[in-house]
Each structure stands twice: as structure tokens, then as C-alpha cells.
Subunit: 246 residues, 6 copies
């Protein structure tokens, strides 16, 4: 039986996720499809941006369940709308940050997150605390490049990621690294290699490939989030929004 | 110098907050004004509802700052949009849950929250944990009445609140109580009196009056949230939303 | 590319894991094989039993890596030898307790573990604390049946599990349940169904099927534990034990 | 209705709190009065000093309630006698450290405390832990000036505070600062300005002005500490002390 | 070499500690001596009482060091003046609560404290949290007898202690018990025996005998508290108190 | 009455513990005896080594109880087999790490552990967390000398320990130090002296002398671990091991 995972990119910019990215995630028994937000910000770099991204994402997520997909992966490391979407659907919904921090907590003592901008640090600190793994966080490091500037100078981004990875390992004591923006897709291998060249065998988690595999694992194991924690919301009028009728 | 606090009700139902409620909050040196959401759900009883309430609230909050108010109180115990609005403005923004749980932690060993519906329990558990005071939470108790049914049978609501208050004190060990819905405005005194009649001198926090006083205190002390934690978001196009231009 | 997961049962009794159990775990792209301990106790019901199970398990785990398997699942909810085996090999090693408690922490607010005997409660309490998720543990409940008596009267075991599951949900507030002994394999569905009949939509994690899926996911995503946390041990003479030479 | 807050300085030195300090705290609706300890140490720089300051403070605090004041602020960042005085009276009693750390926890991710001497660091660490906000403490920094030497060379003190403030922000990651001695009264604005000149918009809490505002807010909101946590002590003979009779 | 431990009773009532109590603590190599407070309350049942007990205790503790004793045990489960006395002297100072909760944390998963009155519960909760072992506290139970009424009807006190001990074990899950008042001296054995008769092999810590042994162990091992944490206070005038001159 | 403490060295190398070491621990009322592992690794530098050391240690520990010793001290800072041996016997069993970290938590705010190799850091981090005192750990520092190379160049080891001790105090903020390998026996005094020469009065815990004193204190106070937490294991066949029959 084939498993179908939908990757939902919660922004309106088409730059962030290519067809090639998605195709690379497919497997013999695994279909991976993709959808993009129609309303909201082009990129998420603050909780303000996030607030405007969530309504559109929820609509897309509910549509995915109706289409029959088996699990949903939110394509943003701020895990926008994770709890709200779990209320709205029964199929597993995975946030890449939540998935990676729990996996990292199993893989080593301390993890570091390497992300785009200083302004998202407090958002990550809050999320890591609310996921209950704050005592495993070695550090959050930033490369100081806005999301939409990641594309076009991949070489520079890769070099900056390697520099921060080395500092996270050597100065902050990280034993596992997490890429802190889904726009860094594909950069993990070069980082691992660079660390290994320096004598450190440190896993680097590339959130979307990892989270897609775990979404498929949940679907295949037949488990999803608890409806006691994520009760289905009562239907309500929502003036100003076009919500699909059940 | 007069202090001006704006109470922002993040829902579209006009039932929840009356002019009389707001007038009662005024003081000789304190102006309290009120505004209501134009878009989003009529009441907030899930994280799904909350997601559709926040965009409108942010627009209203930014407008309040431009009008010159000194501080903003979000009129919902889920503290919707608290972090995002702090990014968008410089004046103090207070959530009644965050304010009350920190105040309760100063007033006694353990507090209980009494709220409307079982479905909001996980939302409160998450928030209390993320505010860092989870070890002070004695219990969350519910009266099992939806928000929009609170109005019309106030006597029954008051009786249910008193019943749960007694249980929170006698069975859960609460030394402070917090009303867990801003729709319970005005119910605290009868609860305190009933508890005192039973031999327990237990403070009951009525979130909106308490939070308006603390908002005024912050404004008068000249302090506001840190712009290091709540950096101002870069301006972006937000297709699907009408955001005011700065 | 096919993924090969080895299930290692760390006890010497052949009763606990059947060929049928293992076959049911296979998938189109997933080979699951099985091995059993040669030395040590017939069942693990104490830390004392565990101590005698680990040396044999380590030998079997090192052999599995040399055979070319892609990941190892330890078939016991005490996760015996988890850290030591991760030191000895490079492929992912998963303990079912560690995997399930992190997954449960993502699926709901609070989880309960239902296990065999009162005597293993402190072992689970220690492990849950050391995995960093103690604040998510609603309760540990026991059916008071020793491991080797699970087999033969499956109906009674199933009934006892359903009784404790209902109590965990109704009295302890669990939103997710974890089967606390790998000898309960196959009992989850009837528990879920019984809970649903009582109006509670609560996921029940069957540890071996879940952990095998997550082991395959780690192998497919190309990630394993950190060698900074789990450094390879220096080779030493071990009088009294027959360790394979590298 | 006017609110009356009593500031109680728990030491016998008259140098620490001037009439001008107190007058500056008054407001149209706010009377602030002041009292000083008759017995005990001239300054508090250790838990030993504190122990001799508390008996006199308690006598003064009980007298304040009998005089009809609405709330009491203890004028020392060690919050001496906070719990004992709350037992002895019904009106709100606020410690500036407890108030500021909870407020700081609401205003930003991490706060630093800048205080007088290395010897008080463990006292602050204990208090911050016992207030439940230890995970928000970025650092404690000291200027290495004893309390009674603060007065006379204010310029040097101000310069030292600015130096440590910059280090707390740049090296320790603080997003909010707290003045760690009530003898630093009035120094916050210059620190904020210096930080802003360096590009950091970081609030600095001046404990006495902030705590007086919050004491007035509690009195106006009609709330005080729980008598379940702070039960009134049974009257006892206290040989060696002159306690007022009720 | 003989070790000399001083037991300091921090109250002015002579009822609480008899010569026979002290003699029973002696050993072939262990001298135990005793002293009593001259000023302060006859018993400690609140933080208010405690505040008036500490100044006299500090004077007595400093005198003990000058006399040449090797270690000091504070004879009250509120550990009054523990930190302040450690500042004032170099020899080990032990509080029975701190000692017993750390020992209990080593002896079993969860401990309960059985004490005199409901009014001291918050004091114990604060202390256990500040000692860092709050997650090991199963419960605090009270027999509702004031300290000075313990003496005269020992049989009734013993029966009440046994009743609460059974409840702590059977309902609260305690695996270790701590007597929560040093006035319960001598009651542990009958409690252990009663629990064992009911099938529970649960250790009961009698704080003074246990703490005297640990004080002697520290003295014999040649270790004492850190002067970095407990710096010696600068000498100061203390109007109202007669402090010995060094 | 004389107390008899058995020191059990859990490795097969005879280098680590000399007769002179043991004799120095004796006292007028204290017999200290010694035993060594017959099977397992010559030294413990990983969890892999530890796994092969525990079965032999358990056999030796059970034999000690049958011989009539009063308490057992495990002679390795990894506390190997601590929980399993407590299940197997009724007399007190002490691990030097558990004992020292709890004692250090009573002696000062923050402690550092100085140990042999980087590879044991995660083992210590796990243990300190599982003992519940992780928030008191200032740092773990290593001298990068394998256990069996400690003997022969004691002067170099002593110098390296002093260097790391100074760094732990000056850079990491430690107020108490713990020797992190029982092979460092006898090195504490020179470290204390060197720190004092630098102006820091910091206690250094030498684990075996300290733990032997505390084992004797537990035996003399008549207390041992809880059989609720450490239930006696059911007797089982253990193919591959020669366990004594009861």
C-alpha cells in the first residue's frame, strides 16, 4: 500500500520549494505531493508574518485531508499552525521543528539549531521550551541572511552554514545539528562532510527529508495525534475568511 | 498625566464585552477604551478559532498605537496574538492569562484556572508551560458552558463557578484562583465570598480588571516589552489581508 | 533500495517473540529479521535481570551491524543496553520506550504507560525522567501479570489492558497510551476500539511496530546517533566474556 | 479614592533612601510614605545581615497595616522578610526582586541582574530559583561596590552600571535588565540610553518605581496574597523582642 | 580522634529537646552536645516565628565554632538560619530537612514528609523546591497537632503518625518517609514496624539521629560548605542585637 | 559496635585500588574491606565497558551481604550497577557519584566534575540529570588521560587536575569540585591548597573517602534504600552466568 504525504509550504513565494525538491523525497512506496499558500506573507521571519500565514495553511490542510492524503508536513521551521491544523484534521500533521528536536534528543546529548536571522531566535526558544526539550538545546546560531536571499547565492549560504556548524560543535558543545530553515534543504551533507574533515562525526538533520520519512512512518504505523488534545473545533462563521463547508 | 488603556476584544461577537464593563474599569487618571474584531470567529474555543482571530486583532492593535493609547490589553484568556502584536508595536501589550499566572505565582503556592470547556484545557496547559509557571498550576477546571451561552443565564454560570472553585480549593489544593474566560467578568467577588463562608480566604483573579491595572502600572512606570525579544517585523506584502501602510 | 531492520530480543526465552510477529512487520521495501539472546535471563522484570541481559545483547547487536543490517530495534521496553550498543555500532539503534515517549509527547499533552508488574515502575520512572519527558507522564499502570505468564491467556491480558487503559484516560488524564511491555504486541487495536466505544479517541502505541517504522525512517533519512555522545569504546580484554574481535 | 503605598527600608542607615526619592514616586491618586528600620544592620550584603534586619522590618510592616496603608513595598532587592510579613498582614506586600523577575519574564526571553557585590550572587541565585524563573536568568553581574559606598560617587557607579549592562546584553544575551540593588534608584534611564546608542532597545527595570506602581495596581484591583499560603501566625511570647500586641 | 557535634535547638521552650535525646546520639567516637535559644519564640510554626528565632541561633552557632565543636546541626525541620550561619562559620552546618530530602532522593523514587500543622506546608514546599528536589516529593501530610502539644500524649501522636504514614505510602506513592518535625524524635521505628506489618518495607527518616550522623561524616571526611557560596559577612554594627566581637 | 564497609572495585585491573588506599579509610569504629571484579573490563571508560563490569559486581555485592558487611561502596564514578545491586541486597549500597553530587548540592550553589576522558562526559551528564541535580552542574572538565595511565606519573596527573580545577572555578563558576574518577584518590588536598593559594576557598570532594564515611553514617543511623523502589528480583535461571543460589 502506497503512502501519500503532502508537503504544505505556508508562504506565498514560489521560490522556496521547487518540484525537484519534492521529487527527491519520493520513494517506491511513498508519494510526496506539494501545495503552497494563496494568502499571507511571501516568507516567515517573525511571529507577525506567521500570524498571517496560518489561516491559508489551515484551509490547504483541510483540503489535503479531504483529497485523501495520509499525512501532512508543514514546510516551515516555525511549525506555523501545527496545533490548529491538528484540531481540524484526523491524519497526522508534523511540524519539522517539533519532529527534529525530539529526534535530536534521541540521537545525542545536546543539539544546536542554525537558522537565518537573529529576529527568529526568540520564536525558536519559545517553541523548544514548549516542546519540553529546552535542556537539550546547546545553542541557536544565525547566518544573518533573510529567507528570500537564500536563493541565488547557494555557495555563500553553504559556506556560512559550515562556519556556524563548526562553532556550534566546537564552542557550544552540540552533538547534533538541526538546519533551522526549510530553505536550507539539501545543505546538510556538505556540513556533515566538513565537520568530519575536522574530526567530528556529528549528524546534521535536514528537516524536510527527515520529517517526510517520519510522517510516512506514522501513517504506516497507523497512529495519529490524540483527539483529546486536539479536539475538532465547533463549526463557526468566520467573517473575512472563505472556509470550505464540511 | 492620564493613562489610556485600550481593551481589544479579539472576536466578532458583540455580546462578550459591554460598555458598562469598560466604564467600570475607568479611574480618575485612567481612560479605558474598547475595540472589537471585524474579521474572524464570534468566540474563541480552540486554537483553530484563535488562528482566524489573530490577523484582525493585529490590525486593531497597530491602529491603537497610532491613535496614541498607552497600553493594550487583549480581551481573551488564550492571549491570542500576544507575541505577534508585541513585535508590531512599542507600547506594552498584556495578555490576561500571562499577567494573571505570574501574579498568582506571587500571591500563593498553587493556582487553579476555572474555564468554559474541556476543549480549551490543552491550550491552557501549553500556555502555562510556555510562560514557565507550570509547576504552580494546581488544576484546570471547566464548567462545560460554551462562551456564547455564558450570557443570559448568569446565575447558573455563577453557581457553576462557585462549585468548581470549592473543588479546586478543597481537592486540588489551590491557594489562588484565576477566572479562565474573560466572559466571566464580574464573577470573582461572589466566588471569594462563597469560599470565605466555607472558611477559605482565597483570592480570585478577575482577569480584565487585574490586567487593565497592570497595563496602567507598566505605562506609568515607563516600561514595555524588549525589542530584542519582539523585533519589529520587516514590512511585506500580505496578499489576502488589508494591512495599514506605516 | 530495501531497508533491513533487525529486532533483537534481549532475553533467552523463545516464548516472547514469534516468527509471525516479525513477518507482520515486513513491508514491500522493508526486511525485518530477528535474533534472540544466548545468555542471560528468560525475561526482564527488574534492573537486576537487565544487567545480565545486556552483555549478550551487545554481542548480538555488533554482529548485526557486521551482517549489514541498516538499523537495530531492542525488543524490550526497559531499553536495555541502548546507550552501550550505540557506542559499539554506527547504525541507528532504537529503544521502544525512548521512541514511544518522544512520539507520544508529539501526539498529545500527557501519556500513560501500561505495563506488567509494580516492580518495574521505578525503572520506567527513571527512564522517562532521563529521556527528559517526565512532565508529560500522566501515570504508569500495571496489570500485575509476570512477563512469561502473558502467553497462554491472551484474553485475560487483553481485558486487563482495557481496564487499565480506561482508568488511565478517565482518572489520570492520559491523552496517549503506550503499551509498557513488548510482550503486549498486538493488543493496541482492541484497546483503542474499547476506548472509542466509551467516547474517547485516544491513540495506543504498540511499541515494536511503531519503533520498527521509526528505525526504517531513520535509516532511509540517512541519520544515526551522534558519535560525540556515543563514542566508540577502546578495545579491551573482557575476562569472562567472548567478545568478537573487530 | 487615593491609594497609599508604604516603602519600608529594612536597614538602619539613613543614607539609602532620601525624601526626594519617595516624593518622586507620588502621583495624583497615589500617596507614597516611607519608614526605616530601628534595629539591625546599616546595609544588607549577606544572608547574615538579612537575618538581623527582618525582626525590625516585621514590626514596621505590622504597624503600617494598623495605620491603614493599602500596600507595602520592601525596599531591598533581597526581599527580606517577604514571606513572614505576608503571614503577619492582610494587605499586599511586594518584594522588588520577586516583582521585577516576574515582570521581566513577561517582557522578554532572558533577563540579567546587575548588583553590588560578588557575595550576594548566591542569594540572588537562590531567590530566582525559588521564584520559579531560574530558566529566564541570563546572568548576574556585579560592579564590586559595597552598598554604603554607592552614595557620593554616583558618576562612577553609573559608569560601572553601563559597562555591565552592555556586557549583559552583548555577551550574556539579556533582553531585559534589572537593577540588583535598590540603592541604584534613578540609574535606569542612563543605562537604557547608553544601550540604545549602541543599537540595543533593552528595557531596564528600576525596582522601586516599578514595584510601587505594581503595589498600587494590586491595591486598586482589590487583590492580595493568599491566606492559605500565608496563614496568620498564632500569637506567641517572643523573649528579646518588643512585638506590638494586637 | 573524637568528633564533636553541637545540636542547636532554635527555640526558647525547654520542652522540645531532653538530655536523654542527646545522650542517645553519642557514640564511642562521637560527642554530641546541646544548646538552646535565649531569645525568640517557644516553637516554630510559621515563617514569622522563624524570623525571630534566627538572630539568637546565629549567636549560638558562632559561639559553638569558637568553642571548638566540629559540626553544627540545627534542630528544626524548617532549617532556620541555615544559609546565614554557614556564612558566619567555617565548620559544617547541617539542616535536618536539607539533609533528609537529599538522602531520601538517594534511597527511593518519591518521599513524603509528615509534619505538625497545615500552616507549615507552604514553608516545606518552598524549601523542597529551593533544595532542587521538588520532583521527588510525593506529598506533605499533617497530623494537626501544634508543636508544644506533642509532649504529654505521645501515644496519640504516634498513632496519628502511623495513620498518615500508611496514607502516604498507599495513596501518595511514597517510597521513603521523613518525619517533618524534630519534635517527633523517636517515632520512626514504630512507623516502620506498622508499615512492614502491612506489607510495605519503607524506610522512615528520623531527622536528628540521621543528621547528626551525617554531620559527623562530613567532619570526619574533612569537608565543609563552600566559602564561595557562603562568604564571610563584613563585620557591621547591629543596633538592637548583642553580637559577640571576633 | 563496629561498622563494616565493603569497597567493591568493579574492574579486573589490580592497579586501581591498593591496600594502602583501603587502610587509610579505616577508623576506630570502622572496618573497611575491599574486593575486586573477577570478570569484565580492566577499566571503565564507556557505557560499553560498564555493561561488562556489572554482572561480576552484582555477584560480589551479594556475597558481601551474605558475609555480614554493613554497607557497600561501589568504587567507580559511573556508579555501575547501583540500582541493580540495591534490588539484590538490603544493606545500603552507595555510588560515589550519586553521593558526591547530592553532598555538593548541599555545600554550594554549583559544582564541577573533573574527570579522565571526553568520552565519559555524556555518561556523567546522563547520571547527573537522572539524579535530579543537573541544574547545579557548572561544568564537566577532562584531563585527557586514560584510567590505566593515571598510575605511574602521579605528578603530571596532579598538575593537570589543578589546572582544570582553577578553570572550573574561574571560568565556569564552580563553588564545589568533585573528582570524577576514583583513580584520582588522594589528589583533593593539593587541589584545595592550590585554589586557596589563588584566593578561592573551594571544597574538593575525594569520592571514596567521602562515600565510605556516608556509607558508615547510613549504617549507623540504621537506614537503607527503599524496597518499594528496589524490590528484590524473582530468582531466575541466568544461562551463561554463575550466580550463587540463595
Amino acid at each position: 500500500m502506497t503512502t501519500h504525504v503532502r508537503v504544505l509550504t505556508p508562504v506565498t513565494s514560489t521560490q522556496i520549494r521547487s518540484d525537484a525538491d519534492i521529487e527527491a523525497l519520493q520513494g517506491p512506496d511513498l508519494i510526496v505531493s506539494h501545495d503552497l499558500n494563496d494568502i499571507g506573507p511571501p516568507s516567515i521571519e517573525s511571529r507577525f508574518d506567521e500570524a498571517f500565514a496560518i489561516p491559508g495553511l489551515l484551509t490547504k490542510g483541510m483540503a489535503a485531508e479531504r483529497e485523501g492524503v495520509d499525512a501532512i508536513v508543514i514546510d516551515c521551521m516555525a511549525d506555523p499552525g501545527l496545533n490548529a491544523l491538528r484540531e481540524a484534521v484526523n491524519i497526522p500533521v508534523l511540524g519539522p521543528l517539533e519532529t527534529c528536536v525530539h529526534l535530536a534528543a534521541m540521537m545525542g546529548t545536546q543539539f544546536s539549531i542554525i537558522t537565518v536571522l537573529e529576529s527568529v531566535r526568540p520564536m525558536f526558544e519559545d517553541l523548544v521550551r514548549s516542546y519540553g526539550v529546552a535542556d537539550r538545546l546547546a545553542s541557536i546560531r544565525v547566518i544573518t541572511v533573510p529567507v528570500l536571499e537564500l536563493f541565488g547565492d547557494e555557495e555563500r549560504v553553504q559556506a556560512l552554514l559550515i562556519r556556524e556548524a563548526k562553532l556550534a560543535v566546537e564552542e557550544d558543545g552540540a552533538s547534533v545539528l538541526i538546519l533551522g530553515c526549510t530553505g536550507f534543504y539539501g545543505c546538510a551533507d556538505a556540513m556533515s562532510a566538513a565537520l568530519e574533515a575536522g574530526g567530528n562525526q556529528i549528524p546534521v538533520l535536514d528537516p524536510i527529508p527527515v520529517t517526510v520519512q517520519f510522517a510516512a512512518a506514522m501513517a504506516r504505523a497507523g497512529v495519529s495525534h490524540s483527539k483529546r488534545t486536539y479536539a475538532r473545533p465547533s463549526p463557526k462563521e468566520m467573517p473575512g475568511f472563505n472556509l470550505p463547508k464540511d
